[in-house]
Amino acid sequence: MKRLAGYYCFAIATLMLPLLFPDSYYVTVVGVTVCTNIVLAVSLNLLMGYAGQISLGHAAFFGLGAYSSAVLTIKYGMNPWLAMTAGVIAVTVLSYVLSRPILRLKGHYLAMATLGLGIIVHIFFVQADQFTGGPDGISGLPVLSILGYPIDSDLKWYWTFAIFMLASVLFSLNIAHSRSGRALAAVHGSEIAAQMLGVDTARVKSYVFVFSAVLACITGSLFAHQQDFVSPESFSFFFSIELVTMVVLGGLGSTFGAVIGAILLSLLPEVLLVFEDFEVMIFGAILMVIMIFLPQGLFVAMEQTFFRLLRRKNQRAADVTS
């Protein structure tokens, strides 16, 4: 109970927002974007933060989910849930096949391979225009309905995304305290040491890669239905970089770090809109400054400061009583 206290507060806040501000643009429109980015950041954090494997191509799996939903429902008239399942199966197979050779690589080589994967998938979206509609994308996805209830308003979409997001966050928080979570942490700490302890590191890494890809893929499908439109621009190299930034900004390895990073980075464009042409420059500057001065991430730095102050206060109280 105590371990998840923070999570319950977060869940209540997320679910209260639409009740308090049902018509706010920030809840129904920005809120959905924030939830999308949170799931993506949390899924990337499983791979990068828990297992210590960098990926500069996470947007590819997000895009594959979105495009399989869009193409299969629009071009082939498939049922939305069936299309989503087909996407998940395709991404599971693809990511599993790629996971072994990719995750054998380390450091800069791993960065290069994942980056290459992201760019190849993006170019495919742009070039295979008989399926994907090319650079203009495709629109007109059918309405998604859950057990007969159509999700057809902004507010309903917010609920859908909020619940999906809360489930992913809970899952990510719990996995850290499971056997697989500890195996991941061991791989992160030292692969060789983990092997010595009997962890099948290749399998662990491959599982987390597939899992993180599938989570991104489902998010992509939901995103496509919610937006009612997909275009390659949403799944570019830059978006992969943004996702990495979210994870690192909040604090690598911390689920709530990823959540905070995703929230901040999703709100940033709304704030920077005022600065128009300065937006790109400010974004880059923020990224650099935080990484130089707080490499452990904003959330983790805040958490550490908080606990340090708390400890000092307890210490002082103990000194007084003795």
Partner: protein, 290 residues
């Protein structure tokens, strides 16, 4: 066969540019273990400053020289303001810092130069020279000759000069280099400057052929990274070979398969190479220290 000759010419031209960018990657990586994702921005800044100085009325050689100098200053600033303060940063952190730097530089370029596309006039005329059935532009020759000169200069610098040897010493072992009295910080600074100069030269050489805008550096930088990995990260001559090879593969691939997938071919090849031989063509296999 005739087509092949034409591919060879354009492949080597674009490959030369990749080689210069990759060489820049390699130098910084050797000196500081950092993969500088802002390398492509050096190319863009060099070309764009030269273009605007030329527009401002400076004579061509002077504009080119000033373009390179401005980029060198940017490179020095990058080391001093972003890399040096982040001591003991992990690989992921340095990757993000340099990505941040590249976004920042792109943002500044957008503010100064706007979104339009610009080009430089060719160095010496644009009358094509015919070889058999293939044609070659004077600028293609400039690119290849310029690259060859830059590569030889870099090789001479590292093999023959005290300063170059000092930088090599830093790349082997920083602590040992420090102990024999080498100013490690200064050597790092010089490698950033050198790498920026190479990037800027690449930009000025290629600007008459491909045109430039504030965002042109991204793909060039990534391709340079590809080339550096293809040749084996950290090996200077590997970077040059990797660059030329990547240019050729890309041009032939674009010619025979599809020009739309040109960039995808390059990345596909690099992934295959990584899967089969993770340490690159000329790179040494790494072993883990436990």
């Amino acid at each position: 066969m005739d087509q092949l000759l034409q591919f060879l010419i354009s492949g080597l031209t674009v490959g030369s540019i990749y080689a210069l960018v990759a060489l820049g990657f390699s130098i910084i990586y050797n000196a500081s273990d950092v993969v500088n994702f802002a390398q492509g921005e050096f190319v863009m800044i060099g070309a764009m400053s030269a273009i605007f100085l030329l527009k401002g009325g400076l004579p061509y050689p002077l504009a080119a020289l000033c373009g390179i100098s401005i980029t060198v200053l940017v490179g020095l600033a990058l080391d001093k303001l972003a890399i040096e303060p982040a001591k003991n940063a992990t690989v992921v952190t340095t990757i993000i810092i340099t990505i941040g730097a590249s976004i920042f530089l792109r943002g500044v370029a957008l503010l100064i130069w706007g979104k339009e596309i610009y080009g430089l006039p060719p160095f010496t005329g644009d009358k094509p020279i015919t070889i058999g059935t293939a044609t070659i532009l004077p600028q293609n020759i400039w690119v290849m000759v310029g690259t060859a000169a830059a590569v030889l200069a870099v090789k001479y610098f590292f093999d023959k000069t005290i300063m170059g040897k000092a930088i090599m010493a830093c790349s082997f072992n920083k602590k040992a280099a420090f102990l024999v009295g080498i100013n490690v910080k200064q050597m790092l600074l010089i490698s950033y400057g050198l790498s920026a100069a190479l990037g800027a030269s690449a930009g000025i050489l290629i600007a008459p052929i491909t045109f430039m805008s504030y965002g042109s550096g991204v793909m060039l930088g990534l391709k340079g990274f590809c080339a550096a990995i293809l040749g084996g990260m950290g090996s200077s001559m590997g970077a040059v070979v990797g660059g030329l090879l990547l240019g050729l593969i890309e041009t032939v691939g674009a010619g025979f398969i599809s020009s739309g997938y040109k960039d995808a071919i390059a990345f596909f090849v690099i992934m295959l190479v990584l899967f089969i031989r993770p340490s690159g063509i000329l790179g040494k296999a790494e072993s883990d220290r436990v």
